[in-house]
Symmetry: C2
Subunit: 244 residues, 2 copies
DNA sequence: TTACACTGAGTTGTCAGACAACTTGACCGG
DNA sequence: CCGGTCAAGTTGTCTGACAACTCAGTGTAA
């Protein structure tokens, strides 16, 4: 059964393991050697390497070799990966617990309607606490066709994202996220126990399924100082392989 | 001269153009058809597609086809691409001008020394103004071996990043960036004309060359409300092709 | 009619081997 | 000492083939 489907994953992991043992500037073995060592064809190996190159972790120079720019591990823990707050908090060494939460059905606003295309939406909010005080306030809004109130409450561990991933039904792909520092509105200030108008970090995301449909809208507010988000940015413009 | 070197770039652009004309959920032509249409082999085409797949723009399903998740253009304007503030501001429709700036040589702090490995560093700071008031304060610190004060001042247009890119000498690769909402220190508050302790958005970056060496440290502070950063996040964990 | 196994066309995944383009260092002749 | 030439090693690309998979359609049996 399915040796094949897992080949690229296995290879990706092997290559990642190798990279994580190397330091920036180190040179990788040549492609023929690597492909033989991993037991795959050179074409397959090259595709795997390409993923790391796209992420800016390695750099290839024709006639010279392939070099490590950044070992992984850094970016695998970065913002570019979408994950639940619980996972994130654990990573950055913050002990968190879920505070008050709310699950209810609400009518869609105009902007929500245009994106989610349903008049009634499931609204889930929750407060994340650390060191005894609220540090984050998370809100998710999604169509009832994706997730009903009863279904969620039957097995609600805290994260809507985790729930959807576990169920696997709408296979999730990406989230387009906007990062801002904003002055809090009243209902958010109340949840976080801060003054209305205080500045917090806001992540506003649009979650897409693999089919390209909008699955959910999320809005997360973080108290300054408790969370730090990392990100690996690549040099754009005229550099090789880049668009435009 | 060099037909080859530009092939993958050309193909990448062509494929990007094609994707930008499609909508989420659309299906791409099959790989044999596409490779013939673009005049490249299937292997080469697949490597190009892999870059888009890595970025979460398309999804491939064995036995079914390849589908558009996100057309590009969205993420080409995103945070994952490192670019100068001037370019960024123009993109988001904000007219900016450079205010006061400062270029001087400073002794390295302990943390700077461990990263940049030089006792004396070039420090460049500048204020960005929009609508007649300061909205961002940018600081760059880099070794004198990378850039001397005289060299920079001879052709300083405002952005150290643009300068380095134009010169091309240390070929830049990536920047590891940390995003936080923090209370301002005094010198930053003074530059931005706000109260010490007010919350601003901070991007702290470590710039790496293609060889993996640390080229510069940057610290940018943004006034809330003027800048919004976008980002395309991919679903992590157990999903296909992901590490771990 | 309905349920189910099967088949076949079309797709992506992987493979092997080959050649082209490029870089680098060594070698050699001036 | 300098510069040109060459050869080895590397990445880039091509070709053709086969494997694995999905899905719709078909036919058969209940």
């Amino acid at each position: 059964m399915s040796h094949q489907t897992q080949l690229s994953q296995r290879l990706h992991r092997q290559l990642g393991d190798l990279l994580s043992e190397l330091s920036p500037g180190d040179r990788l073995p040549s492609e023929p050697k690597l492909s033989k060592a991993f037991g795959v064809s050179r074409a397959t190996l090259r595709e795997a390497m390409r993923t790391f190159e796209t992420q800016g972790l390695i750099q290839r120079r024709q006639g010279v070799g392939t070099f490590v720019v950044h070992p992984p591990g850094v970016m695998d823990a970065g913002l570019e990966v979408l994950e639940s707050i619980e996972t994130l908090a654990e990573r950055i060494g913050l002990e968190v617990s879920m505070g008050a939460y709310e699950v209810e059905v609400r009518p869609a606003t105009a902007s929500q309607l245009s994106l989610l295309k349903e008049p009634e939406l499931l609204y889930v909010s929750r407060v994340i606490e650390a060191e005894g005080r609220p540090v984050a306030f998370l809100e998710d809004t999604l169509p009832l066709s994706v997730l009903s109130k009863e279904e969620l409450l039957a097995d609600f561990t805290g994260s809507v994202l985790d729930f959807l991933l576990k169920r696997g039904d709408p296979s999730l792909a990406t989230s387009e996220t906007e990062i801002q520092a904003v002055a809090t509105e009243t209902h958010i200030a109340r949840a976080l126990h801060i003054q209305c108008g205080d500045v917090v970090l806001r992540l506003q995301g649009t979650l897409y399924s693999a089919e390209g449909a909008v699955v959910a809208l999320s809005q997360s507010h973080f108290l300054p100082g408790y969370f730090r988000f990392r990100l690996l940015r690549r040099v754009g413009a005229l550099e090789k392989g880049q668009r435009f």
